[in-house]
Each structure stands twice: as C-alpha cells, then as structure tokens.
C-alpha cells in the first residue's frame, strides 16, 4: 500500500470516526493546513461527508479552507461534494449563517453563489 493510499484511508477514517469533535479538530489542524493540494482536497471531502455543523463550518465559513481554498481544484471539489450531499439542510443553514455573519465579503459572496448552485440543483 503506497503512502497516498494510507493518508487517504486515515483521513476517511477520521471523517467516519465517532468522536466528532476530536476528529474534526485533527482534520482542520492537519488536513486543511497541509501544503499538498490532494491532502486538502481529501480533507474537505471528508469534512463535508461528515455533514455535521462543526465540520461544515470549517469548509464553508473559514477563510482559505474548503470552498474558500486558494486552489481552484480544492474549492471546486468541495462545492461538488456539497452538491452531492443527500441531506443538504445543514449545509444550507451554515451557508445562510455565513452569508449574514462572515467578516469578509469574499466569504459571503462565495457562500451566496454556492447556495444559489445548491437551490438550482435541487429544483
């Protein structure tokens, strides 16, 4: 088993872990701050699949992470993962909170456009 596969499995295991608070903390601290695009991409996907308020806040409302990542590939894959969620109610709630309460205008705009995408995809 190669290194990338092992990293992918650890991130996936953290995404499915029962200890939500601790696993989200590890993913946020190590995964989303990694210098490797692939690791950030995998981490964002794992956090979105977790589909809980703590994990969704990291990828939606935090600057430079998830849908706000500087890498277009990471941001697009995070948006795609949000669109493919079966239950989008929690994600929409976080997006609306971010649109209202985010400090930076860029983050608000990104959240608004992603929310528009989700509403169009639902219809």
């Amino acid at each position: 088993m190669n290194n990338t596969k092992r990293i992918n499995n650890i991130i996936e295991a953290l995404g499915k872990h029962e200890d939500t608070v601790e696993s989200v903390r590890v993913l946020e601290e190590i995964g989303t701050n990694s210098s490797i695009d692939e690791v950030r991409e995998m981490t964002a996907q794992a956090l979105i699949r977790k589909n809980c308020p703590e994990s969704l806040k990291v990828v939606i409302a935090t600057e430079g992470k998830g849908i706000n990542d500087l890498s277009a590939r990471v941001a697009m894959s995070a948006i795609n993962e949000l669109l493919s969620l079966e239950d989008k109610t929690e994600a929409i709630k976080i997006l609306e909170d971010t649109m209202e309460n985010a400090e930076k205008q860029e983050i608000k705009d990104t959240a608004r456009s992603v929310k528009t995408l989700i509403t169009y995809s639902v219809q």
Binding site: I11, E12, V26, S34
Partner: protein, 161 residues
Amino acid sequence: MDKLSIGKFNFGVIKQLSGTKKSEAQNTTSAQSNPFGINFKGNVYAADVFESSKAQSAANNNILNKASEKAKMFTSSIVGGINSFNNSLKSRFNSIISFGKQVKDNIAQSWENAKNTNIEFDFKGLKNYISSKFDYSYSVSNLQKKPVAQLEEMLLNELSA
C-alpha cells in the same frame, strides 16, 4: 306460300364454304412445298433437323461406348480413392499412436523429475508479501476503531514520510 325454286336459292353459304376449303388447300400446298418445315406458332422453321437413321444408330453406339468408359473410370477412381483413404488412415493411426507414446514417455519423465525435486514453501516470505500487498492495519474499518490521537500521530508520520 312461296314455292321453292333453284333460281331463288341463296348461294352465299356455298361460296363461303368453298372459300375456307381453298385456304386449307393453300396451307397443305405450302406444307408440301417445305416437307421438313415445322409450323410452330405460325413460324416456319426451314432447318433440316432430322438425321438419317444410320447416323442415329452410330451415335447411340458412341453414347453407349462413352457411358461404359465413364463407368469404368468412375469405378477405378472409387477403387483408387478407397486405397488412398486406407493408406492415409493407416498413416494417421500410426501418427496418433506415436503421439500417444510420446505423451506417455513425457508424463513418466516429468513424474520422475517431480519425485526427485524438493519443493519448499517460504511461508514467512509469503506472509510478508501478502501483508505488504493487503495492509489490513491501514484499512478504513480498522482505523476507525483506533483513538483519534493515534490517528493524528499516524497522519503526521505519513505526511512527514
């Protein structure tokens, strides 16, 4: 009532009958003028299609001779064919028998070789190889059971490697 008289008799019918007789006579004369002519749907074929009886008998004899010759050739070819088939069959049987003998010899030889060779299984190496290929300690289901602190450490190790 009028009396019948020869003078009043209508000769028109007699004239018509005589006219048809004349046309028939003309046809017969035309056929007589061309004795070998065949009237087929109004077309007359003037070609002489008949041959003399002598020539016909000679032709019949020739046909009979040819037929007998052909029959002889046919029978000889059958006999020849049977002979060649027998020869080919024999040669094929011989080749099959030789092939069978060769296979038997080969099997016996390979069995002797198998008896004389030592087969050793390197179970330790095999186990290492399988465990390297299928590292179950890094499967998602196994990793999920571990505490988050351990997973954090493993992730850091893998990222620094």
